[in-house]
C-alpha cells in the first residue's frame, strides 16, 4: 500500500510540477505583484492599491471593462444559436456530416487567420458592404472596423462566428445521449415537436447548458485575441477589452504591475461568476 502511494506520486510528479509552475504560480504570484511596483530591473516594493487606482482612473481600462461586460450580451446568442444548430444537425439526413464539419471549421482556424479573413469581409469595399448595398439595406458602404460605435460589435460577431461550432458539438454530443425511447414514448402520447423539445430535450440538456453557459460567460469576459488581430484596440480606443488592456500594457508597454492589476480584476469577475453559477445553477436533486 505504501509502495503504491509512492509510485502514484512519481507518476504524477512531472505533470504537477508543470501545473504548479505555469498555472498555480502565475495566479498567486501575479495577484501579489498587482500590489507592487514590480519591474525586471529593480527591487520590488509593495504599493498597495496604487495600480488599481491608476487603472480605474484610466479611460482605456474603464472602456475595456465596460466592453468586456458588453461582451456578456453575446452569451445568450451563442447558447441559443448553438442549441438550435445542434438540433438542426442532429438528423440522419444525407450529407449531414458535411454540414457539421462546415460549422466546426471556424473553430479549428487560427485567430490570426480569422483576423485577416474578417478584415477582408469588413473592408469598406468588402463583400459585406457589397451584399448590403445590393440588397439596399444600407445606402453607402459602412466602415465596419473604422467606426467607433460599430467596431466592437463586429469583433463580437467574429467571436460568435468562431465559437458557435464548438458549443454546437458539445450540445450535439449531449443530444445524442438522450435515450431514443423517451422521444418515442412522447410521440405515442401525441406530443408535438415543440412539446417534445421543451419537455424532453431541454430538461435533458440542462447540465450541458449549465456548463456551456459558464464557459461562455468566462470566455466573454476574457475576450482579447480577436481585438488584437482585428483592431488592436482602435478606433479611438473603442475596442479595448479589460484583458486586451492588460495585454497591451504588460507586453507592449512593459507596465507589468498595471497589467496584472487589470487581469486581477478580470479574474475576480471570472471566479465570482463561476462560484455564483455553480451555486445557483446546480441541477436540483429531487
Amino acid at each position: 500500500m505504501r509502495r503504491q502511494s509512492l509510485q502514484a506520486w512519481l507518476f504524477l510528479a512531472p505533470a504537477l510540477v508543470l501545473l504548479a509552475a505555469f498555472s498555480f504560480w502565475p495566479v498567486g504570484y501575479g495577484s501579489y505583484l498587482a500590489f507592487t511596483d514590480f519591474s525586471l530591473i529593480r527591487p520590488t516594493q509593495w504599493v498597495g492599491l496604487e495600480n488599481f487606482e491608476y487603472i480605474f482612473d484610466n479611460e482605456m481600462f474603464v472602456t475595456g471593462l465596460k466592453n468586456s461586460l458588453l461582451f456578456l450580451l453575446m452569451v445568450p446568442f451563442v447558447q441559443v444559436g448553438a442549441i438550435a444548430l445542434a438540433v438542426l444537425v442532429n438528423n440522419r439526413l444525407p450529407g449531414i456530416r458535411l454540414f457539421r464539419a462546415a460549422y466546426y471549421v471556424p473553430v479549428v482556424t487560427t485567430v490570426s487567420v480569422v483576423g485577416i479573413m474578417w478584415g477582408f469581409m469588413f473592408h469598406e469595399q468588402g463583400t459585406l458592404n457589397y451584399v448590403l448595398t445590393t440588397l439596399r439595406l444600407v445606402n453607402a458602404p459602412v466602415g465596419w472596423l473604422s467606426d467607433d460605435t460599430l467596431a466592437l460589435f463586429c469583433i463580437m460577431f467574429v467571436t460568435l462566428w468562431r465559437g458557435l461550432g464548438w458549443y454546437m458539438v458539445m450540445y450535439l454530443a449531449a443530444l445524442q445521449s438522450v435515450p431514443a425511447d423517451m422521444q418515442e414514448a412522447a410521440i405515442l402520447d401525441g406530443a408535438n415537436r415543440w412539446q417534445r423539445f421543451w419537455k424532453i430535450t431541454i430538461p435533458m440538456l440542462r447540465p450541458t447548458i449549465m456548463v456551456c453557459s459558464i464557459l461562455s460567460v468566462l470566455a466573454a469576459l476574457k475576450a482579447y485575441q480577436e481585438v488584437d488581430v482585428l483592431t488592436q484596440g482602435g478606433p479611438m480606443n473603442s475596442t479595448f477589452t479589460a484583458l486586451y488592456y492588460a495585454y497591451d500594457q504588460g507586453l507592449k508597454h512593459l507596465k507589468l504591475p498595471r497589467a496584472l492589476a487589470a487581469s486581477f480584476v478580470v479574474s475576480v469577475f471570472c471566479v465570482g461568476i463561476a462560484v455564483l453559477c455553480l451555486r445557483y445553477l446546480k441541477p436540483k436533486h429531487r
Binding site: 506520486w9 507518476f11 454540414f99 462546415a102 487560427t110 485577416i116 454530443a173 485575441q225 507589468l256
Partner: protein, 272 residues
C-alpha cells in the same frame, strides 16, 4: 408525402445558408489568392477566380520564409503532442487506477485549473520564462501548454474503462505498476491517445498569442504568427496575404477533415 419533401428542402436550405456564413470567408480568401487580375475590392466582387494561377503563392515563398514558419509550427506541434501524451497519461493513470493518500486533493487541484482564468497567466508566465532564459526557445513556447486539465480528464476516463481483471491478473503475475502502465494500459487506450493527440496538434498549430510573446526572431515564428508578419512588414498585396492565409489553414483543415470523429469524441468525453 409532399409536405415531407417540402420540409426536407426547407431544412437543407437553412443548413446551406448557415454553412455559407461559416465557409464564405474561406472561399473568398481562396478566390483572392488564386486570382491575378482585376481589382480585389471591385463592385461587384468576384466569387470565382479570374485567370487563376499560383503566382501569389510563389510570391509568398519569395517574400517570407514560409517554409521555416511551417517547419517551426510542425516542431512546436510535434513536441507539444509528444510531451502532453507522455506527461498527461502518466498523471491520469494513478488518478484512475491507484489508491493513494491525497488523491482527491490532487484531482481537485487539477479541476481548479479549469475554473482559474488561464488567459490571465501569460503575464507571469512571461516573467517565469524570462527568468528561466527560455525566451526565444521552443521550450518556452511548449512548456506552459504541455499539461492541461482537459487532457488529464480525458485520459483518466479512458483508463477507467479498462477492465479491472486485466490489472489484477498482471499484479498476480508480479508485474510492477510501470509495466502495467506501459505494456498493458497504454496500448489499450490508443484510440484516446489519438484523440488527445489530434486535438492538441490542432491547438498547438493554431496557438497565436503565446508564441508571439515568447518568440521575437521572425525566422523562428510559427505559421500562425508569421502570417500576420506578411500583413505588416512587407506591405504585400492583399492577394499575397490571402495566399499566405490559405497556406496557413490548409494543414489544419486537412487534419480536421480526415479526423473529424476524434474531435467529436473529445467533446463527448468533455461533457461527461
Amino acid at each position: 408525402m409532399k409536405t415531407r419533401t417540402f420540409q426536407a428542402a426547407g431544412h437543407y436550405l437553412l443548413l446551406c445558408a448557415i454553412a455559407l456564413v461559416c465557409v464564405f470567408p474561406f472561399w473568398w480568401t481562396l478566390v483572392t489568392a488564386l486570382s491575378t487580375e482585376g481589382n480585389i475590392f471591385a463592385f461587384p466582387p468576384t466569387f470565382w477566380p479570374k485567370s487563376p494561377s499560383l503566382a501569389n503563392f510563389e510570391e509568398v515563398f519569395r517574400v517570407i520564409p514560409i517554409l521555416s514558419f511551417f517547419k517551426n509550427s510542425v516542431l512546436i506541434a510535434a513536441f507539444t503532442v509528444f510531451w502532453k501524451l507522455v506527461l498527461c497519461s502518466l498523471a491520469a493513470y494513478p488518478l484512475a487506477r491507484m489508491q493513494f493518500r491525497g488523491r482527491r486533493l490532487v484531482f481537485g487541484l487539477i479541476l481548479a485549473t479549469l475554473v482559474l482564468p488561464s488567459e490571465v497567466n501569460f503575464l507571469v508566465n512571461f516573467i517565469t520564462v524570462t527568468k528561466l532564459s527560455l525566451v526565444d526557445t521552443y521550450a518556452g513556447v511548449i512548456l506552459p501548454n504541455v499539461v492541461t486539465a482537459v487532457a488529464i480528464l480525458l485520459l483518466k476516463q479512458a483508463f477507467e474503462e479498462v477492465p479491472q481483471d486485466l490489472i489484477d491478473a498482471a499484479r498476480v503475475d508480479g508485474a510492477s505498476e510501470w509495466i502495467i502502465f506501459s505494456r498493458i494500459m497504454l496500448p489499450l487506450i490508443t484510440p484516446w491517445l489519438a484523440t488527445v493527440g489530434i486535438l492538441t496538434a490542432v491547438e498547438a498549430w493554431n496557438e497565436y498569442i503565446w508564441p508571439s510573446i515568447v518568440m521575437s526572431k521572425p525566422d523562428e515564428f510559427p505559421l500562425s504568427v508569421g502570417v500576420l508578419y506578411l500583413r505588416g512588414t512587407f506591405g504585400s498585396s492583399t492577394r499575397v496575404i490571402a495566399a499566405g492565409t490559405v497556406l496557413t489553414i490548409l494543414p489544419t483543415l486537412a487534419a480536421f477533415l480526415f479526423t473529424q470523429r476524434f474531435f467529436m469524441r473529445g467533446m463527448d468525453g468533455a461533457v461527461k
